[in-house]
């Protein structure tokens, strides 16, 4: 297999940017195929974190001294970069959060608790990660609202007719994942958003699994909210963003109270700051935000279109290889998929698959992937999941396939 050339991506040159990819595990070269859980960080992002911490750190939005102004500038520069990355109209539509989970909780609290009440309905889908289910359940428990669920077919695709039938006068909100973390299904969110908007219903998109793999344009999608995480984008953990349309964000109540989110405070009355600061109480993870800014610069320079094309090659090759293996079943066969391959090996529990692949240096995820409704649909307690990034090679797919053969031999 020629791993150098795939869709114009110089994979070997890219791999040289990722120090962790040189690791050996169990005496074998690391084959990292758990990118849907968290991606690895390239040297320019590591260097950016070191440069910030060694020459630019102070608290932001506060003091008049040089370091504070520098840190504030770099932090806001990262926000501008993220606004460009997903094509937000304005940078104040980008709120830094600790990740996708916090971003969704922010909307459930800031929008949901204000605008969703007893008898109202929220539409979610079977493909949601628990982080786009549980905050809404908590809201429903508090308010007496109800969740309606869009079912899927056996390929792992949403049943759009059923989605449309779920709408009624009580429908107040839609939450849907852009890409399924457990199966890789890419959902037709643009038409789903259009359908909801025609009925005056706002839509939140969980983009955690989409932004690392596809170009995302929030204006073109016309979504009301879009949430994603930095650590799946080659950035640090503990940082993510919520995009929200400015007009909506302005009507929402704050999520957390504290410093930086206020204009003035007396014990009688507090006046909240403008967006995005209204939603960024306390000292944020400044270094992580700046690191995320560097990460999207790296991805942009690499080219999201090229990344998407290379990952599709990896997925297609892996799908073809695994489909050819007797006793292995791919779970999630949607027509449109991102770089996720969930599978089951006949007679072998996914945890045993994962441990044995680890003995071959191959890192995959096994379990329910925080998507138990998906597991329930396919009547499995768990799956094995290989998920690809642009720095993976076809040779690594071969290593995965060889690893699965070893698993089958051990359990023969």
């Amino acid at each position: 297999m020629n791993a150098r050339y795939v869709n114009g991506l110089e994979v070997e040159r890219i791999r040289a940017d990722f120090p962790i990819l040189k690791l050996k595990v169990a005496g074998k070269p690391l084959v990292y195929l758990d990118n849907a859980a968290s991606s690895q960080m390239p040297q320019p992002v590591i260097d950016r974190l070191v440069r910030y911490q060694s020459t630019q750190h102070a608290n932001i939005h506060r003091a008049v001294h040089y370091l504070s102004e520098t840190a504030t500038h770099e932090y806001e520069e990262a926000r501008r970069g993220l606004a460009r990355f997903i094509n937000a109209r304005e940078e104040r539509e980008i709120i830094f959060t600790s990740g996708t989970t916090e971003a969704i909780n922010l909307v459930a609290h800031g929008y949901g608790r204000k605008f969703i009440g007893a008898g109202d309905e929220i539409i979610l889908t079977t493909l949601e990660h628990h982080s786009n289910i549980v905050p809404w359940q908590m809201l429903c428990d508090e308010k007496g609202a109800k969740i309606r669920v869009v079912p899927i077919n056996n390929a792992g695709e949403l049943l759009i007719d059923d989605y449309e039938k779920l709408f009624n006068v009580h429908t107040k909100f839609v939450g849907v994942t852009h890409v399924s973390n457990a199966l890789g299904t890419i959902n037709p969110i643009k038409s789903m958003i259009e359908f909801a908007h025609a009925r005056g219903v706002p839509v939140l998109i969980d983009g955690a699994q989409a932004v690392p793999h596809l170009p995302v344009d929030v204006q073109d999608l016309d979504c009301d909210f879009y949430a994603c995480s930095g650590h799946k984008l080659c950035g640090p953990t503990g940082i993510g963003i919520l995009y929200g349309k400015a007009a909506l964000l302005e009507t929402m109540q704050p999520f957390k109270g504290g410093g930086d989110m206020i204009l003035s405070v007396t014990f009688e009355k507090t006046t909240y700051n403008v967006i995005p600061h209204k939603f960024e109480a306390g000292t944020p993870p400044i270094a992580a935000a700046i690191g995320l800014g560097a990460a999207i610069d790296y991805l942009t320079a690499t080219g999201m279109e090229k990344i998407a094309a290379h990952e599709l090659d990896l997925l297609n090759y892996a799908t073809e290889q695994v489909n050819g293996m007797p006793g292995v079943r791919i779970i999630g066969t949607a027509e449109k998929k991102a770089a996720v391959l969930s599978f089951a090996v006949d007679g072998v529990h996914p945890h045993d698959v994962g441990t044995l692949l680890n003995e071959e240096g191959v890192a995959i995820r096994t379990g329910h992937h925080c998507a138990q409704p998906v597991m329930q649909h396919f009547k499995v307690p768990a799956t094995s999941r290989a998920s690809f990034a642009f720095y993976n090679t076809l040779a690594e797919v071969d290593a995965l396939v060889a690893g699965i053969r070893t698993v089958q031999k051990v359990f023969a």
């Binding site: 169990a26 945890h351 045993d352 441990t355 044995l356 597991m375 051990v410 359990f411």
Partner: protein, 162 residues
């Protein structure tokens, strides 16, 4: 199995393929169900106690190879032993799996069960190996069910405690 460092030694694979005491037990005096919510694995255990002696034991359920082999070898080991012997083995197995028992230097009664010592290096798999032993402890103490996540369970195995 070629690699001696692998957790998947032949004895474990054999007990996974042909689990001993797998099935139901008539006239059980003690039963319990163990559940690992992290992976959905569950083990049902039935015992027949004659005074202090474990006269009969059987297990059922769906689980990974490590959990199933652990259950199989556990039932084979404790059958015919006393309740006190079983409790001692439960404690020793748990200590081995969490890295608290040094098999070379400290006395123990684990015998062939020492094949599971390797899980101490795989914190996520510790619970797989321990689940049947949690469940045995629950059955002996007439607790209807247990979970690897039950904090109140005295057998709770801290992840990464090794």
């Amino acid at each position: 199995m070629a690699d001696p460092k692998s957790l998947y030694q032949e004895v474990i694979l054999d007990h996974n393929r042909k689990p001993r005491n797998f099935g139901t037990l008539e006239h059980a005096s003690h039963t319990a169900t163990g559940h690992n919510p992290l992976c959905g694995d569950h083990i049902g255990l039935a015992l027949k106690l004659n005074g202090e002696a474990i006269d009969g034991i059987a297990f059922q359920g769906e689980a990974c190879a490590i959990c199933k082999a652990s259950a199989s070898m556990m039932t084979a080991t404790v059958k015919g032993k006393t309740r006190q012997d079983a409790e001692t083995l439960i404690q020793e197995f748990r200590d081995m799996a969490t890295g608290k028992l040094d098999l070379q230097r400290q006395p123990h009664h684990l015998g062939r069960l020492a094949v599971f010592a390797g899980v101490r290096d795989l914190p996520v798999r510790v619970k797989c190996a321990i689940l049947p032993w949690h469940t045995l402890h629950a059955a002996l103490n007439s607790l209807a069910s247990t979970s690897t996540e039950a904090d109140a369970d005295p057998m709770h195995a801290p992840i990464g405690g090794a």
